[in-house]
Symmetry: C2
Subunit: 418 residues, 2 copies
C-alpha cells in the first residue's frame, strides 16, 4: 500500500483515520478506553532503523525504504481520555495527516487500544462488583509477559488497588502488593513431613505480623489455627485460594473471631471474575486477588476496535461491504447528561460543527488533543486522573448500565450527519 | 518469599518445580507446547539492574537486593519440545535448582508458556481444518503489540504459512505475507467519487499482476470485474473480507472463471475460526486470512498451565487443597504408540525410573534438556523443526483426537507412582 501510494503521489493526500468499536463485546453495557497514553508514547519511538529496513528491503523499493528511514509522524491526533467510557461508534481516536504517515500506524494504535481497553473494560466490571473492597491484580502468569504489564496498568485505571507485577510497579508507578505462594509453605518440608508453622514463622520474621499468610496448602482449619498460633491475634490477613470461597470465608471468619483475631483480614483468590466477586458480596471477605479473568478480558480478550479511513482530502469516504458499513467524515463526540449528572446519550457529530443538544441537557466534550503537528501536547493525564475520571463516569451511568448481565449499551449513540 | 527464605537459609535447599496443565481448556482434545525457546532466551536476559533494584528497594532488605543483583540461574531445565502435544498432567517443563533461583522464574515461565501454547493450540486446530490450504496470520491488531509477535511465531509452529506481522518476520525469520486494506481502495476517491480501478492499477504498478486485490470495498461483483479489467486474467488473487464467505467464494469463482481468470486465487478473511474454516472446506477457497480468533486462542486465551514445587531436598511435596491436588516428585514422560504409529497414552513417571510399557507398544521420550548448570544446551530446535514435529504428532493421534467438537483428551494420561 505504502509503496504504491508513494509511487503515484497519493501517499501525500491529507487523510483522517478513526478508531472506534462497531459494537461492545458480549452484551456489555459500556467499554472503558485505555492504552491511549501508551500509544502516544510508542508513537514517539516508532522508527525504522537499519534492522527493520534490512527486513523490509526484501520486498520494498528503495524510495519507500528511504521514506520509512526518515519517518516521523507530523500530523494531529485527538481522542477520548483514558478512563472514559466508550459506546458503539464512539470516535475513540482520530489520526490526521498524510495517507502514508497515518496508514502505517494502524497496527500500533489498534494493538494497544484493543488490548488495554479490553482489560480495562473487564476490570471496571470487577471493581464495580467489589464495591469498596480492594482488588489486587494477580494475572501476570496467564498472559504474554509484556501484556501482563499493560494489563496491570489498565486494571489500575479501572479501579484495582494494586498489582503483583513488579515490572508494572517499576514502569508505571503502580502500588504493589502480593502474598506468598503455596511453594513457600511446601518448602518447609523436612524428614518429618510438612511444617506449615515453620513457613508461617519465617514469613513473619521477614515481614512482621501485618503480613498475609496463605492458609490452604494443607487443611484450611489447621492452617488458620497455625497462622494465629504463630502470628498471634494481630495477624494482618489470611488468604484462601481454593474451595467454595463463600462458605470458607464464613468458616474462617468465625474461626478467626473465636481465636481473638477479629481484625485479621480475609483475602480470597482463585478463578474469580466479576460474577464470582458479586456472589461474595454478602460474605466476610476483605479483599480479592484476581488473575486469569482479568488478563483475558473476562470472555472478551479484545475490544474489537477498528482503524478506518474516514476522509480523503476533506471528502468523507466509507466502505460499503455487507454488515461492515463505516460512517465517513471526521467526527467529534460529546456526552449529553441531565442536570442531575445522569448520562442520556453519546452524540457523535462532524468535527467542527457542534451538534444540537436538548435545552435541558448538558453536553460534555469527550475528545481532547494528544498530538499537534507531530508534537505530543503538554499535560497528558496521569494514571490517577484516568482512574478518577472512570470513577466519576461510572457514577453518571443510568442504573441499568451497571448491571453485569448481557444487554444493550447503557446509553444509545446518536450520529449527527454532516 | 525470597527474603524470608534467604534469611533462614531455606532459599538454598535444592528443589524442583514443574509446569503442567491440570486440564485442557474447553473440551479440547490436545494442547500444543509453544514458547519454550522464548522462555529459555528470556532466562538468559533475566537480570536485576539498578532500575529494578531501586523499585524493589522500597520493600526488600539489603541482602535480598544483593542476592538479586548477582542473580544468574545456575540449575537445570528439561521440558517438552515446542510443537509437541501435551495432555493433562504432562510435565511440560521441569526447573531444578535452589528454591530461590527457581521460585523467581514462575511468572516468566508461565506467562510465556501459557500465552504461546494457547495460541499454538488454537492455531493447530485451524491448520487441521484448513488442510492443505495456506493460512496467513493477520491478528496483530487484536492483541497486545508484543503478544502479536509471539502469536505469529506460535501460529507458524502450528502450521500457518505466513504472517502479516513484519516484526515477527524480522525477529523470527517467518515468511511474510499480506494484502491491501480497504483504506487503500478508499484513498482513490476524487471529486467524482470512488475510483476502485485507480486503486487496483496503482497496486499492480507497484507489485505486478501476481498481487492479491481486495474486492469488497464497494460491490463485490463490480470489484471482481474491475480487478480483472485492470489486471487481466493473470491476476494472482482476490480477497473477500465480508459477507457470507461460502456463498461469495462460489459466486466469485464462477465470475473469475467466466472472465478467463481461471487461475486467480480466492483469499477469504473476516472473523474466521477453526469452525468457519471447516465450514468452507467444500467451497472454492484457496487460502485464509485469520486474525482475532487466532490471537485470542479461539475461546481459550490462556493455556492454564501452573508452576508447582514438586520436590524439596529430594522429597516429593504436594499441596492438598480441594480440587487442586498436585502430584509430588520430579517427573519425566513418554508417549506410548502402537507399531502403526498411533498414540495410545501419555505416561508420566518418576524422573530416573523408566516406566512399564506394554510389549506391543513403543515408548517415545518426550522431555529434552534445555539448560545444564545454568548453560543453555547446544542445538535448541529451530522453528521449522518444531513445525515439522507438530505435523508428525498430529498424524499420530487417534482419529477422534482431531475432532473439533468438545470431548475428552485424545489419549489418556497414565501416572506411574514412585
Amino acid at each position: 500500500m505504502l509503496s504504491a501510494a508513494l509511487a503515484d503521489g497519493s501517499a501525500h493526500i491529507p487523510c483522517s483515520f478513526e478508531v472506534f468499536a462497531r459494537r461492545l463485546p458480549n452484551g456489555r453495557r459500556y467499554g472503558v478506553v485505555a492504552g491511549t497514553a501508551r500509544f502516544i508514547e510508542a508513537l514517539t519511538r516508532f522508527r525504522f532503523g537499519p534492522d527493520e529496513l534490512d527486513t523490509l528491503g526484501s520486498f520494498l523499493d528503495g524510495s519507500t525504504l528511504e521514506w520509512l528511514r526518515k519517518y516521523r509522524f507530523s500530523g494531529d491526533i485527538d481522542g477520548y481520555r483514558e478512563g472514559d467510557l466508550y459506546f458503539p461508534g464512539s470516535p475513540v481516536l482520530s489520526v490526521r495527516g498524510t495517507f502514508a504517515e497515518c496508514v502505517i500506524l494502524e497496527t500500533l494504535a489498534l494493538s494497544i487500544l484493543n488490548h488495554d481497553s479490553a482489560i480495562a473494560s473487564a476490570a471496571a466490571r470487577m471493581s464495580s462488583s467489589a464495591g469498596s473492597r480492594p482488588i489486587i491484580e494477580m494475572g501476570s502468569r496467564r498472559t504474554h509477559e509484556e501484556a501482563a504489564v499493560a494489563s496491570s496498568r489498565a486494571a489500575y485505571i479501572a479501579g484495582f488497588s494494586a498489582t503483583s507485577n513488579l515490572e508494572a510497579v517499576r514502569r508505571h508507578g503502580l502500588p504493589g502488593a502480593g502474598t506468598s505462594a503455596h511453594a513457600f509453605t511446601l518448602l518447609y518440608t523436612g524428614a518429618d513431613g510438612p511444617n506449615e508453622k515453620a513457613a508461617f514463622a519465617a514469613q513473619i520474621r521477614a515481614l512482621g505480623v501485618s503480613t498475609t499468610l496463605l492458609v490452604d496448602t494443607y487443611d484450611i482449619s489447621a492452617g488458620v489455627a497455625n497462622a494465629i498460633e504463630v502470628a498471634g491475634p494481630d495477624l494482618g490477613g489470611v488468604r484462601i485460594d481454593s474451595g467454595d470461597l463463600g462458605v470458607l470465608a464464613g468458616q474462617v471468619r468465625r474461626q478467626l473471631d473465636d481465636l481473638g483475631a477479629t481484625k485479621t483480614k480475609i483475602v480470597v483468590s482463585g478463578d474469580l471474575d466479576e460474577y464470582a466477586i458479586a456472589a461474595l458480596r454478602a460474605e466476610p471477605v476483605d479483599s480479592y486477588g484476581v488473575g486469569t479473568s482479568l488478563v483475558t478480558g473476562s470472555g472478551a480478550p479484545t475490544a474489537g476496535m477498528v482503524y478506518k479511513l474516514v476522509t480523503v482530502d476533506g471528502r468523507p469516504v466509507a466502505k460499503r461491504s455487507d454488515h461492515k458499513q463505516t460512517r465517513g467524515g471526521a467526527k467529534a463526540a460529546l456526552r449529553a447528561t441531565r442536570a442531575t449528572g445522569t448520562a442520556v446519550e453519546e452524540v457523535v457529530y462532524p468535527l467542527g460543527s457542534p451538534p444540537p443538544i436538548d435545552d435541558d441537557l448538558v453536553g460534555t466534550p469527550l475528545t481532547v488533543p494528544y498530538v499537534r503537528e507531530g508534537h505530543v501536547v503538554d499535560g497528558l493525564p496521569a494514571l490517577a486522573d484516568s482512574r478518577a475520571l472512570l470513577r466519576s463516569r461510572l457514577v453518571s451511568l443510568p442504573w441499568e448500565g451497571l448491571k453485569l448481565s448481557n444487554g444493550d449499551p447503557a446509553i444509545p449513540t446518536r450520529f449527527v450527519d454532516a
